[in-house]
């Protein structure tokens, strides 16, 4: 039986910023003050959220007008199981809401309590966030108008020009069958290559041959010794970096392979050379898993350098 391909989570996140420009900046500044502004286009319509450019005349929109914080549901749907990051953590409705004084509808959450209390035509009002900073989330959600309105504290600050939008992405990353075999061999301290049946090149890690478009077939054991074809000394720090600079990332052509793998070479950066012979330094076998990080780095072997001609075609 063939083992299934390996999978692992990949979570990435960044707090992106949004330069708002003159129109959206005034809109966000308004939200912070508990006021909603729409943009009036040449045909007289008031758009909420505001448009920056008139879709008919293409002219920049300059006129912003205040609309009410009350409005009418024009259509809706219901979610019983809210997801992380959604406006409410209990069942709620997503609705299109036309604010009084606006000609277009805004998509937002309505805290109606139960599905049968939400309907087209329902009158709603904004429930403002407890702390408003000049962000679309200053509108916490909408609520039916029958309850008591919350108090608003108006404040005056500098205009809002930038909004932060944290974005989190969670993937399941699945390796190919070929790569999974390679990774499982790594977990046993072995390096595995595969030979393309057409061009006869040996790929490490194995993959569908990028040049011929066919799966590589014959497994070829690969020695954990190789030659540095070329390299870079990383001196620059950056967000998400896992090692402290400076460090050497080298392209290493393992003996028996036809394509180099990138990995670290430990030693004095000034001593690393194109053609330098290196050997893998494996971590403790008890720590091995399905990752190339089982090889901590490569070390110089002290052998004479490989002649340039022997790796020239791999640059």
């Amino acid at each position: 039986m063939v083992a299934p391909p390996l999978s692992a989570p990949l979570d990435i996140a960044f707090d992106y910023t949004r330069s708002l420009g003159p129109v959206l900046g005034r809109f966000m500044t308004g939200l912070r003050a508990g006021r909603v502004l729409g943009s009036r286009t040449a045909d007289g319509r008031v758009h909420v959220p505001p448009l920056e450019y008139d879709p008919v005349t293409h002219a920049p929109v300059t006129e912003l007008v205040e609309v009410q914080s009350t409005g009418t549901v024009t259509s809706w749907t219901w979610t019983d199981r809210p997801l992380a990051g959604q406006p409410l953590d209990r069942p709620f409705g997503f609705a299109l809401i036309r604010l009084d004084g606006a000609d277009t509808a805004l998509l937002h959450a309505v805290d109606a309590g139960a599905r049968d209390r939400l309907y087209t035509g329902l009158r709603v009002r904004i429930r403002w966030a407890a702390e408003r900073v000049g962000h679309i989330r200053d509108i916490a959600c909408f609520e039916p108008i029958d309850g008591p309105a919350g108090a608003l504290d108006f404040q005056k600050d500098e205009p809002v020009t930038i909004m932060t939008t944290p974005i989190r992405l969670s993937y399941t990353h699945t390796a190919s069958a070929d790569e999974s075999r390679y990774l499982r061999a790594l977990a046993e301290g072995r390096l595995l290559g595969q030979r393309c049946p057409v061009c006869r090149k040996v790929y490490v890690p194995p993959r569908v041959c990028p040049a011929d478009g066919v799966p590589t077939e014959d497994e070829v054991p690969i020695r954990d010794h190789g030659t540095v074809t070329t390299f870079c000394v990383v001196n620059v720090p950056f967000a998400g970096q896992r090692l402290d600079p400076p460090y050497v990332v080298a392209q290493i052509l393992l003996d028996g392979a036809d394509i180099p793998i990138p990995h670290f070479v430990i030693g004095n950066a000034d001593d690393v050379r194109m053609g330098m012979r290196v050997a893998a330094v494996w971590r403790e076998p008890s720590s091995w898993t399905t990752t190339p990080e089982n090889i901590a780095h490569f070390r110089p072997t002290g052998e004479p350098d490989a002649p340039y001609e022997s790796f020239e075609e791999h640059l």
């Binding site: 960044f14 949004r18 129109v23 920056e52 990353h173 040049a211 620059v236 990332v249 990752t291 190339p292």
Partner: protein, 386 residues
């Protein structure tokens, strides 16, 4: 069918253009391009948008929310996506729409708002089952630059020579992000080593910016009251990022794209027949590398053109008179800026960085791991046949 650049526009490129939204940034370039072309919105038949990976701004498919602002309502809109070469590819797609007779006038726009995130982070994401070896674009390309130096026996100061030239050229360009008239070989060589062998001053900046061009058919070009840049040929080629035997120094896709370009343009000796070139050089050493890849010099000899000063304004082939990517790098727009600057040269509208007598110019871009190539040749006279 013939096609021509009717007008070009670009933003003032800066580290942070926090005064405008993405839409406002694009419109700054678009409005200038329309004005330069003498064309108003009703005459635009289609819009083509290019930008680099969505992770750079964290907006999936920005063409959706930008549709109104970039004038796409009621018109066809295409998004092009070929990594760093995308600005060039976007101009080529717009050209194809015109040359195929589908549209009379097409607006192409490309942008990047790098300040909304961090491209270095976005280009160094470590997927599971890999070693943490990513170090941004510099970490990717530095080993290939080292291989070029070894292969060509280029002297070590060639990269610094390019940096000095481009930054001084940028000082002549009012839109350039970096304008450094006082830069010297010594100051470049004294700058911090980032990704050995690439120094800080040999590296492109991170910029916010946009570029737009209006492409028209023959009738539109002939109706223009201003000088146009006739598009003599376009070419694009692709190859895998990695394969056994890939030549990272002189990629085959670039060689083949250039050969196809020169052939289509009827150019047999590019160095002799091209008056100026805007080449995508994000790290200074890529100037000699691409001079060879494009056929301006024999393999291994590109650095000699640089060393002899022939790529300066006033030389035999001025390269990047605008200052190039080394002075402004709004990634998604950087390729289109090369294409637009080439057009500006043959239109005689390059201002202080105008190359005297420029009648034929190359615009070039590359992207991904040296795998996407796009280029065009523009001239001040209409091609005999296309």
């Amino acid at each position: 069918m013939r096609a021509a650049v009717l007008g070009t526009g670009q933003t003032h490129h800066r580290t942070r253009r926090t005064d405008v939204s993405m839409a406002g940034l694009c419109r700054e370039a678009i409005d200038r391009a329309l004005a330069d072309a003498g064309v108003d919105w009703p005459e635009i038949d289609a819009v083509v948008l290019g930008k680099a990976p969505d992770l750079f701004e964290g907006v999936m498919m920005p063409e959706l929310f930008l549709a109104d602002a970039i004038g796409a309502a009621g018109r066809p809109l295409l998004r092009v996506h070929t990594a760093g070469s995308v600005g060039g590819a976007t101009a080529n797609v717009a050209t194809s729409l015109v040359r195929a007779g589908v549209h009379r006038r097409v607006l192409a726009v490309a942008f990047e708002k790098q300040s909304e995130s961090n491209a270095m982070w976005a280009l160094s994401i470590q997927p599971p089952f890999t070693a943490p070896i990513g170090a941004g674009a510099g970490g990717y390309f530095a080993p290939h630059i080292r291989a070029y130096i070894r292969r060509s026996h280029a002297p070590g100061h060639i990269g610094a020579l390019v940096a000095v030239k481009d930054r001084q050229n940028g000082a002549l360009n009012p839109y350039a992000h970096l304008r450094q008239p006082d830069i010297t070989l010594e100051s470049v060589q004294a700058s911090k080593m980032l990704w050995d062998p690439v120094r800080y001053d040999e590296t492109c900046p991170s910029s916010d910016g946009a570029c737009a061009v209006v492409i028209g058919d023959q009738a539109a070009a002939e109706a223009s009251s201003r000088k146009v840049a006739w598009i003599r040929a376009t070419a694009m080629r692709t190859e895998p990022t990695f394969f056994a035997g890939k030549d990272h120094v002189n990629p085959r896709a670039g060689v083949e794209a250039a050969q196809a370009l020169w052939h289509a343009a009827g150019i047999t000796d590019p160095l002799d027949e091209v008056d100026t070139a805007e080449i995508y050089v994000p790290f200074s050493w890529f100037e000699p590398m691409w001079l060879e890849n494009l056929g301006f010099a024999e393999a291994g000899h590109g650095w000699k053109l640089v060393e002899s000063g022939e790529t300066r304004i006033g030389g035999r082939l001025p390269v990047n008179p605008s200052g190039g990517v080394l002075c402004s790098n709004p990634i998604g727009a950087s390729g289109m800026l090369r294409f637009a600057e080439a057009a500006m040269q043959v239109m005689g509208r390059a201002g202080e960085h105008q190359v005297a007598g420029a009648r034929t110019a190359l615009g070039h871009a590359y992207g991904g791991g040296s795998q996407f190539f796009s280029m065009w040749v523009v001239s001040d006279i209409a091609p005999a046949s296309v």
